[in-house]
Amino acid sequence: MSDTPAIELRKINKSFGPVHANKDIDLVVKKGSIHGIIGENGAGKSTLMSILYGFYAADDGDILINGEKVTISDSKAAIGMGIGMVHQHFMLVDNFSVLENVVLGAEDSALLAGGLSRARTTLKHLEDEYELRVDPDALIQDLPVGLQQRVEILKALYRSAEVLILDEPTGVLTPAEADHLFKILEVLKNEGKTVLLITHKLREIMKVTDTVSVMRRGEMVATRETAKTSMEELAELMVGRSVLLRVDKDPATPEAPVMEVENLTVTDSRGVQVVKDVSFTVRAGEIVGIAGVSGNGQSELLETLCGIRRATSGTLKINGETIDLGTSRLDAADMRAKSMGHVPEDRHRMGLINSFYEYENSILGYHRDPAYSKGVLMDLGAIKKNAVAEIEKYDIRPPNPMLKTANFSGGNQQKIVLAREIERDPEVLLVGQPTRGVDIGAIEFIHRRLVEMRDAGKGVLLVSVELDEIRALSDRVLVMFDGKIVGERGANAEEGELGLLMAGVEDNQTAAAGGAQ
């Protein structure tokens, strides 16, 4: 193996308006290695990789490939230099076959027939070489995500990629699928390819990489040999100080149940059961955490409970009232009326309207509350007064209700949502990913608020993919896997134990084996 690095970046800078997404980034990636890049959401990892793939142009800095200085003006140039990328959101045409997707952009000639038949032979080859089996004539929309990702890898290999960038590849995968992906990466490495793995999950870095670089707030803060570092060190590098998510709280004193879910089953628009016969109880004065790898039905569970999504069957008891979720047509407004607050998983898509003023968002969902209207008109005075009060209480900055919501930082936006939902004093609060994309200071604030909710005798249902968050806050932990609740643990559950449950190991050995084919 020669010593010339496969990729070398020197002093890369990139800004989006006022946001300095990449600051003086240096990076050296050895040929034939798996190199991890880790950092929190928004640390600038994806931007950096997009520059490498020609999706964005760097403001300044040099890129060297195999020791030669290059300009990557677009994706075509990147592909030409042997760089392939598997994007976080797959870049596939859903109603095309696998073959057509692989061939797109590498068709050989103006006529399709030749390119398609060559691709068929090459795919067969690649399948054997890298154990990447997938039916070339299947339509993408009929394939599970794991296989779709495989198609993305095949696309890159078909274009003779020597360097493969994977951007948060396991976010959508089951643990078994993720394991299989890592095996594929090993095979690729053994075949002499270079792999760049971008993730925010420490476990993955430790598991598969040879070298790891850490990014924080747009800067490259360290590069380590994986074998000579630890999760603790990396975590500290990622956040800039030693953080052990620990929330000071007294033991819970749970009382009567405020929410009881029985035999809830939810089928999505494709007809797939995403929540399967789930039952649990949330009592007043406790935080119940739902742990699980993203995509195991937690989002759908939350959406169903808050009235956005229809259930196939199941009942919900809230404050003594029993609702048949399979037949009721209750929407989010009805659920709010039953004293259920909801901090949604995705504040941009769902929790806020970015083009609205802060004070407008501070009543979104509660705009029909008589407190905010005067006859048929809305009472802007009362609405703004409420907004100012919430801004003060939650230390939302800048403290200006007349500002468009888009102009607040992630943490402050989340506080707007939290303030709105908590201050209506609901008996039950549903919370999804409360600290995603939120800075450390705000995280502590948000966690404290949730514990205060609990101590005030309310029931909190917390869904988070961050295991640390679940462990720090929950009084009881339920683990979801493949749409089912596969286990329940107490407040001091072991991380490893939860991890096994999240991987579906205890309950369902066959699922893991089945996904690994």
Binding site: M91, F96, E100, L111, L112
Partner: protein
């Protein structure tokens, strides 16, 4: 009775031709993700360009070229607004319809002083009907004679090219690299972009293809079917073509059948004017005129199949900030 049928079918072919050309034009554009409600305007502009140049040069071919040039220019304007500037495609289409309606009448009046019309075309300025070999000779043969002589023979070149454009479009769409990319960019421009293909250039080629076919459609109206341009001579045909495109679910062969159906309705409405149908009475001609639109709405409502447009249609492509 057979005679009437043949004659009705014959005029169906003539009336369907401009619809079919415009419909296929829209197919290229919309398959690439650029919604085009400016088919009407492009057709009108082309009809004027063709009529004016064919009159001045007494050359139908130059007329056709001029029609195509005008239509492509309007198409490029649509592209500039909706691809380069990522403007609203519907708004841009509306603007083009206005521009074409106003400019053709205005310039027509300025240049020819006949109230916006172009003067009657001289010999050579029109595409003449092509009589196929033996059409006259076998005219008297029952069944086959009229079928061959009326229905198949005796149309102008643009009619034949419209129907030839159907298999050609199918072939381009499903058998060529351009077609693969065109279909891809209408479904997932990001996939096309990351595959190293320029979304912009691909979509521009689609609107140019659209312009060329609209040019044919417009030229057909003014220098093949008609003899000169008349103010607002498209009279909503661009919108019927749009309806046909939806009706055909953006597929070439279906587009032909949809246009034939709508052309047939038009032909029937002309033939039925003032005639009673036994047991039903006179059906108002307006009913036939409205029928294509009613059928399209019913189709759009999903009561007879479901018309699902290309996924990215109408959405300007913007590289996402991660």
């Amino acid at each position: 009775m057979f005679e009437v049928l043949i004659l009705t079918l014959d005029s169906t072919v003539r009336l369907s031709t401009p619809l079919l050309l415009a419909c296929l034009a829209g197919l290229y554009s919309e398959r690439s993700g650029v919604v085009d409600i400016g088919l009407e305007g492009k057709m009108l502009g082309a009809a004027f360009g063709a009529g004016a140049v064919a009159y001045i040069t007494a050359n139908a071919w130059l007329g056709l070229m001029a029609g195509i040039a005008v239509s492509v220019a309007l198409g490029l304007l649509h592209g500039f607004a909706s691809i380069t500037n990522r403007g609203n495609q519907i708004v841009s289409g509306v603007a083009i319809n206005f521009l074409a309606a106003g400019l053709t009448a205005l310039l027509g009046q300025t240049w020819f002083q006949q109230g916006g019309r172009t003067p009657s075309l001289p010999d050579g300025g029109r595409f003449k009907d092509v009589v196929w070999p033996f059409a006259e000779q076998i005219r008297e043969v029952p069944f086959i004679g009229p079928l061959y002589g009326e229905l198949i023979s005796g149309h102008n070149l643009l009619v034949y090219s419209a129907f030839l454009a159907v298999p050609l479009t199918w072939w381009v769409l499903f058998r060529s690299r351009f077609g693969l990319r065109l279909r891809a960019v209408g479904e997932s421009p990001a996939a096309v972009d990351t595959a190293g293909i320029s979304v912009t250039w691909l979509r521009y080629r689609a609107v140019i293809a659209c312009g060329i076919l609209c040019g044919f459609a417009g030229a057909y109206l003014s220098i093949a079917q008609g003899s000169g341009f008349g103010v607002n001579m498209t009279a909503g045909k661009g919108f019927i073509a749009l309806a046909a495109l939806i009706f055909a679910k953006w597929r070439p062969a279906s587009a032909m059948f949809a246009c034939l159906l709508f052309g047939f309705l038009d032909a029937v409405s002309i033939r039925m004017q003032g005639q009673e149908i036994p047991g039903i009475g006179e059906i108002p001609v307006q009913f036939f005129q409205a029928l294509p639109y009613i059928l399209t709405v019913i189709l759009l409502a999903g009561f007879i199949g479901k018309a699902i447009p290309p996924k990215a249609a109408g959405i300007p492509y913007l590289k996402e900030r991660s």
